[in-house]
């Protein structure tokens, strides 16, 4: 089955953004261009046993803790999925559009409900807790 879109044009675009690696989970405006010099990851020469988490547990312990204790930390959605590597593809503030790779239906339903696509306004970055209040997401089939 080949289709124009499994979900719709909005989700399609979001997935493209996801796979391009342009996206993120920080609560600020999307950047029209790639990361500025200020947003580049500091140069690292990490030993083999060093990981994003082991370094950030020292350098940004609150962020590391929030991620680790959150849903993405539990299911090992590692830092580079949203932030890219520490090289030229690094993005400090990934676009919310990244979420559609796994959460396409929720992204679509949020957009359908009013054009909102800022996932992180309701689901704080890194911790990604379930939001309180009225949900714009439709409940559909599939596993819980």
């Amino acid at each position: 089955m080949t289709t124009a879109s499994p979900l719709g044009s909005a989700a399609r675009l979001l997935v493209l953004l996801l796979v391009t690696g342009v996206g993120g989970c920080a609560a600020s405006s999307p950047k029209p261009e790639h990361a500025t010099a200020r947003e580049r990851h500091p140069a690292v020469s990490a030993p083999a046993e060093e990981t994003c988490l082991s370094c950030h547990a020292r350098t940004t312990p609150q962020v590391a803790k929030a991620w680790q204790e959150g849903r993405h930390g539990l299911t090992l959605v590692l830092c580079f999925v949203c932030h890219g590597t520490t090289g030229a593809d690094f993005r400090l503030r990934p676009e919310p559009g990244l979420c559609a790779g796994c959460h396409a239906r929720n992204v679509q339903s949020a957009m359908d409900a009013g054009g909102r696509t800022d996932c992180f306004a309701c689901h704080p970055a890194h911790a990604l807790r379930p939001a309180r209040g009225e949900s714009p997401h439709r409940k559909e089939g599939g596993q819980p």
Binding site: T3, G87, T117
Partner: protein, 750 residues
């Protein structure tokens, strides 16, 4: 912050900007126009997550999880990065042939002519068993089927085996010996009903992340759900464990027997279920009784088992009580920690014993569920019978009636199929070493890195006396570098065929893009080879669909019967579970269960019928604790165990082509408990040399608080630092699966 559609359109410009930086995602970033989406399945593990492949200008530019499939749209990080592997710089684009020691580019005509003539010559001169095929749980079902048919009925050898022998042969033999039929009887949906999970010898969080997510979700949402993890190492899977039970490698048979001991001693066995559905056996005969079983288990009181296993007796008791608590559904899940053992089949039997004793089987949430490492090991190789002792769909080489049946179905003269089973994986390469096997065709797998004690078999593959053909999407690999001929194979979305994952779910992968260069689908290559070998009538297929239609006929009437899975139905569906014997049949979530499994009569008086065994009785096997082939001693004082990490997959030929994955985990390290490292006088990052009786390799140390003292762990994905120089090539006597999980080593400063 509010981001509108306009903002999103604007961010697509950022994608193009990134492209200018030379990101490996360049092709993806340029894809901002119309995209077509083709339904497919993930290329990696045996979970079989459904996804859509996004294509722009003839290139794979994106993937998106299929919300209508079992994975509910979720993909793991490797699946999300699949587009990057398609245009990797080491994609193999043209046929190569070795001349004067070097691989040089030739035409398809020349390469195929050489392959056909060498195989024909070897079979004629030395007999049919001088040639062999070594396939893959990653090949499409139609590809494995064509290879199987060509080698068995055309070349008349049963030397057809593959890498599933390395990862799931013990699970298959476990199911077969206990229930009489291979493959799990449960399904992924059972996760949503389970109250207790026994995860043993499996690091689901890293090896099966999407299923792990489902277990974690069930634990959060179910009432009092308990997760028990049996694993020497405290892996990320243990984060959801209510009980992590660490033990000395190789002693889990004692623990599982001790759990059975507790179940019986504390009255948690379902006596009525046992009376109705269970037999007891030892060796290969079901000739024992419950009393005999009790006598065996008398040696496995928790205190005694704890002494053997180096764990706490009360933890064994707790695990047994949680598992056996009446009215609570129990699901076990396991993989290589049990399978890759010289007593892997026994270990599998012992897990099944727990379910049979308690009757926690064939009910929602109660099932023994073997996880699978590759996307089509179950469907293509195990079900399709592409292992040395098998014929398609539950038939055995050693069974005369089965051979006759296959000869009729394949339209070949009686006596065409050889009665002697072929050589299983390690034995196949030993035959190459001995010079008996002259020509080997390796398809879609990398034994030059993945075999245990690998240097021994690398020599055999590189030897002058052997002719090695490798069909691969990537080159060089640690196998293709040794080959005499390297054929460029199409990859994943470049071809069409069926995958069958761990829950008997068959799914169609549709072609989304053309292969690059001169690469061709393995299906086409094998069909051409058949013609060149004079077996064009045997392999007359023009398309994979034609082969599939024949496969439906071959499976019809067997316990696998999926003859209702027409190509069109597979195109429309988001996965179908067999048995599915008619066009309108919905598929079978739970085998052996009345009202679900079409092979159980509707009027059967009991809820379950184990129709695979005589008297419809599954077998509780009496299996004692037995040590692994090698245990530490004064010279080699530590255990080495090998396994997977989240960032990579198998021999890394695909995942190393993903910049993010390569960056995140560049090399294999020696994960050591801090106590062992301190004793050796090394710190994280220091180089160490790990040596076994077979070989050595150097790694940098990584300190692992969750490790077990006395146990060193190395992952299997690194193509430069080969853990398999060290591992042992001892195999389970029944399944012939090697003991990758345990050997004895010494670790020294390098």
């Amino acid at each position: 912050m509010k981001v509108t559609r306009r903002d999103f359109l604007r961010t697509s410009a950022a994608a193009s900007a990134l492209a200018a930086l030379g990101s490996p995602c360049r092709a993806l970033a340029e894809a901002t126009g119309p995209v077509t989406w083709t339904k497919s399945v993930c290329r990696y593990c045996g979970t079989g997550c459904g996804l859509y492949v996004g294509v722009k200008n003839g290139k794979v530019t994106a993937v998106q999880g299929d919300g209508d499939n079992h994975n509910a749209g979720f993909l793991c990080l490797k699946g999300l990065l699949l587009p990057e592997i398609m245009a990797a710089p080491d994609r193999h684009l043209h046929p190569l042939v070795r001349r004067n020691g070097k691989l040089v580019r030739v035409s398809w005509e020349e390469a195929m002519g050489l392959v056909a003539s060498r195989f024909k010559e070897a079979a004629e001169k030395f007999g049919p068993d001088a040639v062999g095929f070594y396939g893959s749980g990653q090949a499409l079902t139609e590809e494995s089927y064509v290879a199987n048919k060509l080698f068995r009925a055309g070349l008349r050898t049963n030397n057809v085996d593959g890498n599933p022998r390395l990862c799931m042969a013990s699970a298959a033999a476990g199911y077969l010996s206990t229930y009489g039929k291979d493959e799990p009887m449960g399904c992924y949906e059972d996760i949503d009903h389970a109250d207790v999970f026994l995860i043993v010898g499996a690091n689901m969080a890293e090896a099966h992340p999407v299923l792990f997510r489902r277990v974690a979700r069930r634990r959060e949402q179910g009432k009092g759900v308990k997760v028990i993890v049996l694993d020497p190492r405290r892996t990320p899977t243990s984060r959801i464990a209510d009980l992590h039970l660490s033990f000395t490698p190789g002693t889990d048979l004692a623990i599982l027997n001790a759990m059975a001991h507790v179940l019986l001693a504390e009255g948690m066995a379902d006596e009525e279920f046992v009376r109705a559905h269970v037999a007891f056996g030892e060796g290969t005969e079901a000739n024992k009784s419950l009393d005999d079983y009790r006598k065996l288990l008398a040696d496995y009181a928790p205190a005694r088992a704890a002494e053997i296993a180096g764990c706490r007796a009360e933890d064994i008791v707790t695990a047994a009580r949680w598992f056996g608590e009446q009215g609570r559904a129990a699901m076990s899940m396991w993989t290589q920690g049990l399978n890759q053992r010289t007593r892997g089949v026994w270990a599998n039997n012992l897990v099944h014993n727990l379910h049979l004793l308690t009757g926690k089987i064939g009910l929602p949430g109660s099932t023994p569920f073997s996880l699978t490492g590759q996307p089509n090991a179950c469907g293509g190789v195990r079900d399709g019978g592409a292992l040395a002792h098998l014929l398609p769909y539950g038939r055995l080489v050693a069974n005369e009636k089965h051979r006759e049946e296959m000869e009729r179905l394949w339209g070949v003269p009686a006596g065409t199929l050889a009665p002697k089973p072929g050589l299983a994986a390690v034995d196949l390469f030993r035959s190459l070493e001995e010079g008996k096997l002259k020509c080997l065709y390796v398809m879609c797998t990398n034994p030059g890195q993945s075999l245990p004690n690998v240097d021994r078999y690398r020599k055999a593959m590189a030897g002058d006396g052997s002719f090695l053909v490798v069909s691969e999407a990537f080159h060089p690999t640690r196998t293709s570098e040794l080959a005499d001929v390297v054929l460029p194979a199409a990859l994943w979305a470049e071809k069409e065929g069926v995958y069958g994952c761990a829950e008997r779910r068959y799914q169609l992968l549709q072609k989304a893009v053309e292969p690059p260069g001169e690469a061709r689908p393995d299906f086409d290559i094998l069909c051409e080879l058949a013609g060149r070998l004079g077996h064009g009538k045997l392999i007359p297929f023009k398309t994979p669909e034609e082969a599939w239609n024949e496969i439906l006929r071959v499976a019809k009437g067997t316990p696998y019967d999926f003859s209702g899975m027409t190509r069109e139905r597979l195109r429309q569906a988001h996965g179908l579970l067999w048995p599915l014997p008619a066009a309108g049949h919905p598929g079978t979530r739970r085998r052996y269960v009345r009202g679900e499994d079409p092979l159980v009569p509707a009027a059967h008086p009991q809820r379950i019928q184990f129709y695979g065994r005589p008297g419809a009785r599954a077998v509780v096997w009496l299996r004692p604790q037995k040590s692994p082939e090698e245990v530490p001693d004064a010279v080699y004082p530590l255990y080495l165990t090998t396994g997977r990490v989240i960032e990579h997959w198998h021999t890394g030929t695909m995942t190393r082509n993903c910049r993010e994955l390569r960056h995140a985990r560049a090399e294999a390290t020696a994960e050591m408990h801090p106590q062992d490292a301190a004793r050796l006088g090394v710190e994280g990052g220091d180089p160490v040399r790990i040596t076994s009786r077979r070989g050595q390799e150097t790694f940098r140390v990584s300190l692992a608080e969750g490790g077990r003292p006395g146990v060193v762990f190395v992952h299997m994905h690194d193509d430069r630092r080969l853990c398999n120089r060290i591992t042992i090539d001892a195999v389970d006597p029944v399944s012939r699966q090697p003991e990758y999980k345990i050997c004895a080593v010494k670790v020294e400063k390098a």
